[in-house]
């Protein structure tokens, strides 16, 4: 089960003859539990397009995507209820403005479950639960989503998808536009949701620190091609990331610089700032 991409291509057809290949020949498998995957790559590398394939919002130009046993190919098959796929794989868009529309937070979160014919009372319960999961108190239930701050809106939009109880949760740049503390809070939230429920969570991000600290697996896209699929450790142990148009996390960069400047032998592969501090102390003592 989970999601299997088989030689998936997707191109946007342009206004005039030309077309633009957003993703090229992608094959990969995503398990339906216990993964926290980050999807990285420079702007325009096809991250969002790939994410939209994961719950059949767009159909591949060629190749196939198998999502929880349902085969999605270039042609729309009338027998397949694509809507059901979206309940299994939830996709949160980058900007919460694209989905918030109700006058209260509660109603907005309930919109998803109600679309899948969950009874109203249960939907209310789901809304409360989802709101708690994203770390907002119940006092938010009756507030107007448009009067919330950017971070709160983002959390509400995530709750709107979480209320569907998807097996795989895909988030398109959830940390963009948030302050560093907000980013970390959100990533901790995903980590805890993943630990608690065993769901697979896929996060698109540009922040290598977050990738290094949180991810169990990294997918790197470059110009539409999947160029790396593995653990963050093996990615950042590569001598050069310039071919991927990526940078190293801050901890690695700082420790490498310290080693060069002071001719120390500190192990530069430290995931968090506190680990790095301990490593520096140890390095200078010896």
């Amino acid at each position: 089960m989970g999601i299997q991409f088989k030689e998936v291509n997707f191109s946007y057809t342009g206004v005039q003859k030309g077309f633009y290949e957003a993703i090229k020949d992608i094959s990969l498998t995503i398990q339906d539990k216990d993964e926290l995957i980050t999807l990285v790559g420079q702007t325009g590398s096809g991250k969002s397009t790939l994410a939209q394939h994961m719950n059949a919002l767009v159909f591949p130009t060629s190749g196939s995507v198998e999502i929880f046993g349902k085969l999605v190919t270039a042609k729309r098959n009338r027998k397949i209820k694509y809507n059901e796929i979206r309940q299994k794989v939830g996709l949160v868009f980058q900007f919460p403005e694209y989905q918030l529309f109700e006058e209260t937070v509660e109603k907005d979160i309930m919109f998803g479950p109600l679309n899948f014919h969950v009874p109203e009372i249960e939907a209310k319960e789901l809304a409360k639960k989802a709101l708690r999961m994203v770390g907002l108190s119940e006092s938010y239930l009756n507030r107007n989503p448009f009067n919330l701050s950017g971070g709160e809106k983002k959390r509400v939009s995530i709750a709107g998808i979480l209320a569907l109880d998807p097996q795989i949760l895909v988030l398109d740049e959830p940390t963009s536009g948030l302050d560093p503390r907000g980013k970390r809070q959100l990533m901790n939230l995903f980590k805890s949701i993943q630990m608690e429920t065993g769901k697979t969570i896929i996060v698109i991000t540009h922040d290598m620190d977050l990738v290094y600290e949180y991810a169990t697996r990294v997918l790197v896209l470059n110009a539409g091609c999947l160029v790396f699929d593995g653990t963050p450790d093996s990615l950042f142990k590569k001598p050069s990331l310039s071919e991927f148009h990526l940078d190293y996390p801050a901890t690695i960069r700082v420790l490498r610089e310290i080693n060069e400047r002071f001719h120390t032998q500190i192990d530069i592969y430290q995931k968090t700032v506190s680990d790095a501090t301990i490593a520096i102390k140890r390095g200078f003592k010896s």
Partner: protein, 323 residues
């Protein structure tokens, strides 16, 4: 969604592209008047020939223009049929009795189903349509068995046929002319041309600047808004609101879920745009200069003279009844 072309401007190199938009707008208007002055099919045929020659000289693909005519194909057919049926002048050409009987109605329904199935093939659509119409005629004409519900006299007069051809050709010419205008003029140039032409209206209190600004901003934002609409649709589809699937009852709610974010984003965008314009010192109503100002050149003069020539020609034709 992504393939919608706004305006039909196609970049090219013909002489029509080098013309001042004002010349083109006025020339098209004058030529339309000239076409309406014509009285006989022969004259119209000549005018149609001139239109084709303009296309060829202007290096515009005739296929392109023909494709532009597609949406109004129904209108042309409708006009044609309307004229044939309701014009009762001149000698009678056809006088047949069409019968609506049990048998003919059943065959008609079957024929329609066959036609609908065949149109799935996508090729020869136009031909199939004419075949269908011919079939309908034959069925109504010759299948007179069974209970007869009503009969209907199908009468075609000479003038009817003439008028219908006349009207259709006239429409064709006019649409070709306006297609040429939009094919060869950028929307921005077009609005600038309209703005300049509307200048005199400021004496009666209408600001052509504001008008042109409104048009160009709306044109500029149509693709952007379409893009946003697409994203909103995807975002709501991933919450189970897929417009393609689902029942009518749910669809109403789903449409609201698209409209509200759409409005909010549109308002936000317009606020941002207003701020951006103000921060670049835009003051409504104040005189502004352009980077590319319009020039009325030699080519424009020639086209203007030609246009006047054609108009004179058609006035002469009308007055002297040539053809």
């Amino acid at each position: 969604m992504k393939n919608i072309i706004i305006g039909q401007y196609i970049p090219g190199t013909g002489f029509l592209y080098k013309l001042d938009p004002r010349t083109k707008i006025i020339a098209v208007l004058i030529l339309m008047v000239a076409v309406f002055l014509l009285k006989s099919i022969t004259q119209l045929m000549i005018a149609f020939g001139i239109a084709i020659i303009i296309l060829i000289i202007g290096k515009i693909s005739i296929v392109r223009v023909a494709r532009g005519l597609k949406p109004i194909f129904i209108l042309l057919v409708f006009t044609f049929v309307f004229q044939i049926f309701f014009n009762k002048e001149g000698t009678v050409w056809v006088d047949e009795t069409l019968t609506f009987s049990l048998v003919s109605l059943i065959v008609l329904v079957a024929w329609t189903i066959v036609w609908r199935l065949l149109t799935k093939l996508k090729k020869f659509k136009m031909m199939l349509f004419f075949l269908y119409i011919a079939g309908v005629y034959l069925i109504l004409r010759y299948l007179t068995y069974g209970t007869i519900f009503s009969t209907f006299n199908f009468v075609v007069h000479e003038k009817g046929v003439e008028m219908s051809i006349f009207v259709v050709i006239r429409l064709l010419i006019i649409i070709t002319l306006s297609t040429v205008l939009t094919l060869t003029t950028k929307p921005t140039d077009l609005t600038q041309g309209i703005e300049k032409l509307m200048r005199p209206l400021k004496y009666i209190g209408i600001s052509s600047d504001d008008f042109a600004l409104i048009i160009s901003i709306s044109l500029r934002y149509i693709p952007t808004i379409l893009d946003e609409a697409n994203k909103i649709m995807l975002a709501q589809a991933s919450r189970g609101a897929d417009i393609a699937e689902g029942k009518l009852k749910d669809k109403i709610k789903q449409i609201i879920s698209l409209l509200v974010p759409m409005f909010i984003i549109a308002f936000k965008r317009s606020e941002d745009l207003a701020d951006a314009m103000e921060s670049r010192n835009f003051v409504p109503g104040r005189e502004r200069t352009r980077i590319y100002d319009l020039h009325f050149g030699l080519l424009d003069l020639m086209v203007a003279l030609m246009t006047i020539g054609l108009l004179t020609g058609s006035i002469m034709a009308r007055v002297l009844w040539i053809g």
